[in-house]
Subunit: 369 residues, 2 copies
DNA sequence: ACTCAGAATTTGATCGATCAAATTTTTTGG
DNA sequence: CCAAAAAATTTGATCGATCAAATTCTGAGT
């Protein structure tokens, strides 16, 4: 037989369509005895509500749209993918779905969003890689389309706009913790490898390092300048930059980096300069970091995903919360987690092949809560 | 005003609902003059068809379901994510959508698939990580739900089942090419670092290496055994394994590996043993390989995505092709592409800091067509 | 002019669910 | 025991599109 409908279930249970509907959507208003009878009928016939019909009637889709960025930026490019993954899992727990789409340009993306939203295919959007003066967020706000961005709007005005919901990783705090940890372990001259300024995310992370250095070891402006370098986000660029730093005699006790890419470069430069024991901490906790045994600040994307949905749906429900009514916080800053590892490669033992010079040290990890 | 409907457009253009519908779906049967008038009205009102309504009527969703695997297996875990990405882009070009879902177990996944399919939310599925005797594919076939798997069904019987559509990377050919390339470059003793057998994918890749070695350098069984090792898919495991191999004096001219993870381990072991120039080729072309300048066999996931959709939708259309009618091929083997790089790290120059000993060599890549 | 096939367009029904309002049943309280 | 309130259930309308069938228009052939 074809897929059973409410009608079939109703007939089977000797009730009306609406009662069946109520059992599914608002069980509390149905008398227990009736409810049981209907549920039995549902189970017996294997009934599943047709979501297209429901959406048509309710004018909503229980679906969240996420744009996959066409640009893949190397090592950290997978962060977005991991976020999508986490979001899908969390959405699932709220019986929401995640629909992906792609767009060639911001304008095209707006067009897609429009189409998805007006076609009642998607109730809300999650945007990534937003920037100051982003036409997409302006359009979304203007057209009253619910959305949350993963990433702060870095413009000063936007930051507290209650109409712009956002979730972000507290890079400052994460880097501060990482730096503090290195200091606790005995370092005093902790260096910073960052991205060229200005960079919203990058400057924020750097601020964490700076804060920790000032508070914990009373670093002066001059010392901070001497201990920090900037590099584009590429392994070879970072290697070169850090190598230059070391050659110039600005040798730190440890390094904190704005990304795993930079950290990998730093690791190579340090190893190459014979500093095999220089502690280095990256950012993003990518598979690369795991592979080479690099400590890193993890973005705890599952928590970001949870927060995203909380902003969108409220703490409990599974339908989009209309803003302005209940004024919950309009953004969430998530504290990242430091993942400490011991390097498991780049052993610079020359050409020895003796058994007593193990090529690989023990690999163990430990996560901060 | 609320979102305009066919009704509104019809009124504006002085035609009936159905004519508007025809302009959208079968423009050829509408008289040009009328068509233009309707199109003008559509543009003027900014009309978008409501997809839920269309789906309800047509009993299809133009949506493909993909399950995101909850397990993340290190470096190569991102391959699935990249595939999803490519699939989304290709689907977009066919005006199809990709819906993600997760499931805790195969049984749960079947339940989800059932729900998505019967709720008319998803027309077809793409499965990954299938295995011999997979209950999911059996269920899908039995229930006539269209699907394609990324990955061969490795059981002998299943392989040519016309009901089981699949797309896969021709690992054998990819590894054979890689091996041949190394031989062309002068190597004769090309080693193999693979996964413990039996392993469908792993054994297939190994077969490529074996073939190339037999055909091009006439390697004997004994030589093949001496040149190959097996390791679980972890960096440290691979490092250990290859280090053992080298210590035992089984030193190859070059290495081909079943994964980038293994290749990274091999790279570390080789460097550590002083073999800085040992050519190594991995598999998957992950960001890690790119970062460390490791050559690798790329899975050309965009082509896999194209092939997946071709199996599902035929070469042109945008609706699911019912199998059995037109008996196109039921599977596609995609030849991967070799990406050659020169290592850009692991420089074993001791502790020199001279400028003339560059820490980083030039990084250039080249793809085979 | 006139018929008739084929093209173009319109009309009425339908997909499967939920909403809003109406009706019936049950409970409460005097 | 009955009226009024509350709870439970049912009925009719509707969401926005497409399908199938009916109708009107057009142009070729005589």
């Amino acid at each position: 037989m074809a897929q059973p409908t409410v009608e079939d279930v109703a007939r089977e249970a000797n009730v009306s369509r609406q009662t069946v509907s109520n059992v599914i959507n608002t069980p509390s208003i149905v008398k227990p005895a009736t409810r049981d009878r209907v549920q039995a009928a549902i189970a017996q016939l294997g009934y599943r509500p047709n979501l297209s019909a429901r959406r048509l009637r309710q004018q909503k889709s229980s679906t969240i749209g996420v744009r996959l960025d066409p640009v893949r930026n190397g090592i950290s490019g997978a962060v977005l993918d991991r976020f999508v993954h986490a979001l899908t899992e969390q959405a699932d727990a709220r019986s929401m779905r995640v629909l992906l789409f792609t767009a060639a340009s911001p304008q095209d993306e707006i067009e897609q969003i429009r189409s998805l939203h007006e076609g009642a295919d998607v109730d809300a959007f999650v945007l990534t890689a937003t920037f100051h003066g982003d036409p997409r967020t302006a359009w979304l706000i203007e057209n009253d389309v619910p959305f949350v961005t993963f990433g702060r709007p870095w413009g000063i005005d936007d930051m507290d706009d209650p109409k712009h919901l956002w979730v972000d990783i507290d890079g400052r705090e994460g880097v501060k913790d990482a730096t503090a940890r290195l200091i606790d372990d005995g370092a005093t001259r902790v260096g910073w490898v960052g991205w060229p300024r200005p960079s919203g995310t990058g400057d924020d992370r750097r601020a964490g390092w700076e804060e920790a250095m000032r508070e914990r070891v009373g670093a002066s402006d001059a010392e901070l300048v001497a201990l920090s370098v900037e590099s584009y986000d590429g392994v070879s660029e970072a290697t070169e930059t850090v190598a230059d730093m070391l050659r110039a005699g600005r040798v730190p006790d440890a390094l904190v980096c704005a990304s795993d890419t930079l950290a990998l470069g730093a690791l190579i430069a340090a190893s190459s300069a014979g500093l095999t024991d220089l502690p280095i901490i990256g950012f993003d906790n990518t598979p690369v970091a795991e592979a080479v045994g690099l400590s890193s600040v993890d973005q705890v994307l599952d928590r970001v995903a949870v927060a995203t949905l909380e902003l969108l749906l409220g703490s409990e429900g599974n339908s989009i919360v209309s803003r302005g009514t209940d004024a919950g916080p309009s953004h969430r800053l998530i504290a990242p987690a430091l993942v400490l590892r011991t390097p498991n490669h780049l052993p610079l033992y020359g050409t020895t092949t003796e058994r007593t010079a193990p090529a690989v040290r023990n690999h163990h990890r430990k996560e901060t809560s």
